[in-house]
Amino acid sequence: MAMKHGAAAVSNSETAARRVSSFLATHPKVRLGLLLSAPLGWLVTVYIVALALLLVTAFWSVDSFTGEIDRSFTLDNIFSVFSGSLYVAVTARTLLVALAVTVIDVAIAIPIAFYMAKVASPKVRRGMVIAVLLPLWASYLVKVYAWRSVLSGEGILQWLLDPIGWETPGYGLGAVIIALSYLWLPFVILPIYAGLERVPNSLIEASSDLGASSSLTLRNVVFPMALPAVIAGSIFSFSLSLGDYITVNIVGGANQMLGNLVYTNVGAANNLPLASAIGLIPLVIIFGYLWLVRRTGALRNL
C-alpha cells in the first residue's frame, strides 16, 4: 500500500517535470528569458540601479544640522561642483595625472607587447606573460607602500641617485604618476599584446617583400591594426587613474584628487549628495572618452 502510494507520487512529479520541460522545449523565448533573468537581474540591480541612485542622490541635499538627507530636488550640488574653482582645479589635476599615466604606460607597453607577440620564442613569451601578470598577485596596498619607501628621502631611489647628484622626486604628483603607471601597466600590456598577436605575420612579411622598411611597416601596417588594442589598454589606465584616491593618499604628499574629495564628503562630512555630484565628474569624462573612441573598434578589444 505504502509502496503504491510512493510510486504514484513519483509518477505525479514526473509528469509535472515533463510538462514543464515540454512547455520549455516548445517555447524557446521563455527558456531564454528564464536562463538570462538571474544574471540580468544581478546586472540591473548592482550596476544600473546603483548608477541611477548615484545620479539621483546628486540632486538631493543634506541638512547640516541633523545630518539627515533632504530628498527635495536641488541643483546646488551640480552647480557648485561644475563652477567651484576647487573642483575645476582638482579635476584638471586628476586629468593631468590620468593622461600622464596613460601616455607612460602605452609608451612602455607597446615595445614590450610587440616583443612578446612577434619576436620572442614561445618559451620566452610564456615567461614574459607570467612576469607581466606577477605583480597582479600582490596586494595593491603592499605595492603602493613599497613605492612609498622607495621614493622616501631615505629610500633606495635616493641612494641610487645620490652618486649622480640627482634627488628622489619625493612624495607628490610625480610619485603618484610613477606609482599608478606601475600599478596599471599589466592592464595596458595585455590588451595590446592580444591585439598585436592578431596581426598576421604574413602581412608583415608581404610588406617587407614589397620593399617597405621596418619603420614603414610598423607605421603603416602594424600600428593601424593595433590601434584599437592600444586604445583599449588606455581606457584601463585612464579610467583606473581617474578614480584612484588611495595611491595619492599614500605617496601624493599634500595633493588631493577627485577620489579624495568624494572620500572626504562621504566619510568626514557626511555629505553624500555632494559626493555623488563629484562622482559624476569622472563618469562624464569616461563616457566622453568612450564616446570619442567608440568608432575605432577599441571597445571590441576590451
Partner: protein, 388 residues
C-alpha cells in the same frame, strides 16, 4: 533649553583612514533615552558591545591582551563585540539597535543622547565608578543637566612630534608647524581632517588674542578665515597630510616628516633609537575623551552594567587603555600597565591644557549669541578648499 554639544574623537587603530565622521548635530533637549536602571537583577548571559577597535580584546589578536575572558568567567555574560571605524558609523549602528553597550567618543556621545539611543547611567550600581578620576566625571560630553550618561574610559592629546636631530632643543610652541614652518619646508605634516582647523585655532588663541577666540570649536566666520589663512600658509610647507596613523609612523621613522601633530601611541610605536620625541606645547592642544554608555533599548541591561563596572576596574581599564595607547580613566589602572607616565595619566595640568574634540555647530559653543558660528559642514568645505 539648550545643551552644549561637545564632542571628542579619537584614533581608531585598525582603520585605514581615520576620517572624523561628524555631522552637524541636533541640540534638542529633553530626557531622551528614558530612566536609568534603578537596581540590578540577574545577569542575562550575554552582552552585545559596540566599540572602537582594540577596546574589547579576547586574546584573539594578542594572547597576552585578554580582558574579556576573565569578565565572561566571573559574570557569566558572554561577550559579542563589534568594532566600528568612525563615529558616524557608530551612531548609525546604534540607531539600528541590537547593542547593549557602546564606547563612544565625544563627537558621538551627545548625538546618541539627543537621539535617545542611550540611557542615563545609574553610577551607584557601578562600584568601580568611585575609582575614576574626578576631573573626567560629569563632563559636558558624558552628562546632561547633572545626569550621568556613562563611565569615562580614557583620554589622550594631539601632541607635537618632532625630530630630535632637526630640533636639538624640544620646541615649546606649535609655531614650528605654523609661523616657523618655512625652516623645515616640505618636512612638515598635519592631521588630514577638518577638525585640524581647531589646532590652528588653539594656536591663534595664544598668538592672535585680538581675534577673541575662547573656544577653538566656536569660530565665527572671521575667526575661521584667520585659521584657514594660517593653514594655507602652512600648506606651502606641508610635505603630506596624514590620517592613517601607520603613514605618520613611517614618515617620522624615515625623517620625511620632522614636525607634525601626533598621538602618543604613534611615538611609542617608533623604535627606541628613532630620533623622535613628542611634547605638549605651551599653547595647549586638542584631544579626545571616550565614554562607555548603555543603550536605551538594551536587551541585557544587567550584563551591560556588569561590563561597565568591569571595564572601569583598574585591571581592565589598565589593559584596555594600555593596549590602545591612551591615558586611563582609573588611577589604579597604572598598576596594570607600565607606561602611564608616557600618557600623563592623572596629570590635571596636562588635562587642563586640552581642548577635547568637539563638533562645531551654528550656536556658538562658547556662549556667544550675537554671532553665528561656523558648523562642521562649513569646516569641511573650508578644509578641502584650503588643500586645493
Amino acid at each position: 533649553m539648550k545643551i552644549r554639544i561637545t564632542t571628542a574623537t579619537k584614533i581608531s587603530a585598525a582603520v585605514f583612514a581615520t576620517a572624523l565622521a561628524v555631522s552637524g548635530c541636533s541640540a534638542s533637549s529633553g530626557s531622551a533615552g528614558g530612566d536609568a536602571l534603578a537596581e540590578l537583577g540577574d545577569n542575562e548571559g550575554s552582552v552585545n558591545i559596540l566599540s572602537w577597535p582594540g577596546y574589547v580584546e579576547d586574546g584573539t589578536n594578542f594572547p597576552e591582551y585578554d580582558w574579556v575572558t576573565p569578565f565572561e568567567e566571573s559574570t557569566g555574560c558572554m561577550v559579542n563585540a563589534k568594532s566600528y571605524g568612525t563615529s558616524d558609523e557608530a551612531v548609525n549602528l546604534m540607531k539600528s539597535g541590537g547593542y547593549d553597550v557602546i564606547a563612544a567618543s565625544g563627537d558621538a556621545t551627545l548625538r546618541l543622547i539627543a537621539a535617545g539611543d542611550v540611557a542615563p547611567v545609574n553610577t551607584d550600581l557601578i562600584p568601580n565608578y568611585e575609582g575614576i578620576y574626578d576631573f573626567l566625571k560629569m563632563q559636558p560630553w558624558n552628562s546632561v543637566d547633572g545626569v550621568s550618561y556613562g563611565v569615562p574610559h580614557g583620554y589622550g592629546a594631539n601632541l607635537l612630534a618632532y625630530n630630535t636631530e632637526a630640533f636639538p632643543e624640544a620646541p615649546t610652541s606649535w609655531s614650528v608647524v605654523f609661523d616657523g614652518a618655512s625652516a623645515n619646508s616640505g618636512k612638515i605634516s598635519a592631521y588630514d581632517s577638518p577638525i585640524y582647523i581647531a589646532d590652528a585655532a588653539v594656536y591663534l588663541m595664544a598668538h592672535n588674542p585680538e581675534l577673541g577666540i575662547t573656544d577653538p570649536y566656536a569660530l565665527d566666520e572671521t575667526q575661521l578665515t584667520a585659521a584657514i589663512d594660517l593653514l594655507k600658509a602652512q600648506r606651502e610647507h606641508v610635505g603630506e597630510y596624514w590620517s592613517d596613523y601607520l603613514k605618520a609612523i613611517s614618515a617620522l621613522d624615515t625623517g620625511d616628516t620632522v614636525a607634525t601633530t601626533t598621538w602618543q601611541v604613534i611615538v611609542n610605536y617608533l623604535a627606541a633609537d628613532t630620533p623622535v620625541a613628542a611634547v605638549l606645547p605651551d599653547e595647549g592642544a586638542t584631544g579626545w575623551s571616550d565614554t562607555w554608555m548603555v543603550a536605551s533599548k538594551a536587551e541585557n541591561p544587567n550584563c551591560a552594567y556588569a561590563w561597565l563596572d568591569w571595564i572601569a576596574s583598574p585591571e581592565a581599564n589598565g589593559m584596555a587603555t594600555g593596549f590602545f595607547g591612551e591615558a586611563p580613566s582609573n588611577p589604579g589602572a597604572c598598576d596594570y600597565r607600565e607606561d602611564c607616565e608616557a600618557f600623563s595619566a592623572g596629570d590635571t595640568e596636562f588635562a587642563g591644557k586640552l581642548y577635547y574634540w568637539t563638533t562645531p555647530i551654528e550656536d556658538c559653543l562658547d556662549g556667544r549669541t550675537d554671532v553665528k558660528c561656523t558648523d562642521y559642514a562649513r569646516w569641511t568645505e573650508a578644509w578641502t578648499e584650503m588643500k586645493g
